[in-house]
Symmetry: C2
Subunit: 262 residues, 2 copies
DNA sequence: CGTTCCCTTGACACCGATCAACTCTGGTGG
DNA sequence: CCACCAGAGTTGATCGGTGTCAAGGGAACG
């Protein structure tokens, strides 16, 4: 929300107020965890973010069935992939954090088989298809890193299936929070096990295959057990180990590269 | 099951008894639906299937945590990706049909974050990593096609999340059957809306986030509504449109290429 | 001809959905 | 500055889809 104040520096949130390519650093951070990127690689990534577009919250970034001309990269804010079912209910299939691509598949698959929604106000980089497709040729290590990111996305999808298919509500919520904690950390947006979580209970419900009412009750359990504090769009994990234990969370599926291992 | 009878031809199941590269034709058929493959491309694919290994049913092809030396490609029989949860229950995250790769990701991600199980006796081609990775360089169209297959797999994962998260049991089963119908058709294993479905009710349950008992009752509903016949490991869809309507099935997520559209 | 899977059936319990009202908060405009 | 309003969170009562437990049946296989 706090936007480009050019010269003066806000001492409270120094990270947020870099000139606009700041969001692009999320991608750099993420991919650096997977591959050994040279400075030229990083520059090439930053160069992708020249064209930026802003979206208001609760608004489609890409609708189902569209054939976007550009690849979209989340720079700031949160997004979600979703699909609307016959009966009108909605299922979210992924949360998109800064550094995540929205639609690398479109150049090959042709059209979107799901929609992408801005959950908050968001900045998105628009990148021409061919700039992405030619990257691997020019910078093989980057190609590897992008490939890695795609495969991790796939692994996350699998873990969601497991989560929704075989865990009860409290564990589901806990698992989601653990995943988001790990992913936010990877892009440098976690401090003291605390991070922005601008999700309504309805959105959480749509991601976990639950109803808002039940998510509400479940959150109260987690709070009562002193596992989390969730207030004002900010999540604090009070007991990381306890939450992981409850969730049965094992971060192996995120495949953080050797460089990233703490 | 029926194996390489060299000279004589069995008139009942002529497809099955070609010399061993037969299974490899499934991959060729699948990829031909997505890209305009030259004969050389197809030959290159067939050349991948030189080394074949057989697995007994109900046996791991690859275990979670392993780092297989080769890429595995299903030639015959059915497989499943699965993950075992803390409480001991199992969730299947994908069915692997002939023509599907088991673990293209391993060269990049390093180790398996889930296991792969042979559901039936299966023949699997073992392919050296570098033979896969160099394919795109030598035959760009093949690279595109493989990329397409990966992205479709991802789309299928998303549709599973929707299915498990937002549909009731009967619709879930129906949707799964519609998907398998479409995928089996794509590799040429459907005749008259009938195909092998060697899945126990327990396996179906583990794929859909249900219990075997409930799958049993659900199947009885589908049978009572004259939508399907499922017997002896063979599924016949009596009313394709009706089943799709019940399931809310839209095959757009399978992204069949232009060539494949009937 | 027994053993082993797998399918089937019934009774019952429970998690989460549904419906409906109420509270709280932040934002807007008078 | 306060009244109002919309969106989000909260709560309670009740319903229903699935899970659980347990027993029995049927077909394939050695």
């Amino acid at each position: 929300m706090a936007a480009r104040q050019p010269a003066r520096v806000d001492p409270i949130e120094p990270v947020r107020i870099k000139p606009h390519p700041a969001g692009c650093e999320r991608l750099v951070a993420k991919l650096s965890a997977a591959a050994d990127l040279a400075e030229e690689d990083k520059e090439a990534l930053r160069a992708l973010c020249s064209q930026v577009r802003e979206f208001a919250g609760k608004r489609d970034i890409i609708g189902e069935g569209e054939k976007p001309e550009n690849v979209h990269l989340m720079l700031e804010g949160w997004g979600a992939r979703y699909k609307v079912v016959e009966d009108g209910s909605r299922q979210i299939t992924a949360f998109l954090l800064p550094g995540d691509f929205c639609d690398v598949h479109v150049p090959i698959l042709g059209e979107m088989d799901h929609g992408i929604l801005a959950l908050t106000a968001a900045k998105v980089a628009l990148i021409a298809h061919d700039r992405i497709t030619e990257l691997p040729r020019k910078r093989p290590e980057l190609g590897r890193a992008l490939w890695w990111a795609t495969l991790v996305d796939e692994a996350v999808l699998r873990s969601w299936i497991v989560n929704i298919g075989r865990r009860e509500a409290a564990q589901r919520v806990a698992h989601l929070f653990c995943e988001l904690h790990a992913r936010m950390k990877l892009v440098g947006l976690v401090e003291d096990d605390q991070f922005d979580l601008p999700l309504t209970q309805e959105v959480i419900a749509d991601a976990l295959g639950l109803t808002p009412v039940h998510v509400n009750r479940t959150l109260q359990h987690l709070r009562a057990d002193n596992l989390i504090v969730l207030k004002g769009g900010e999540l604090t994990i009070l007991d990381v180990e306890g939450l992981k234990r409850l969730a049965g969370f094992d971060d192996n599926y995120l495949h953080r590269g050797l460089l990233a291992r703490e």
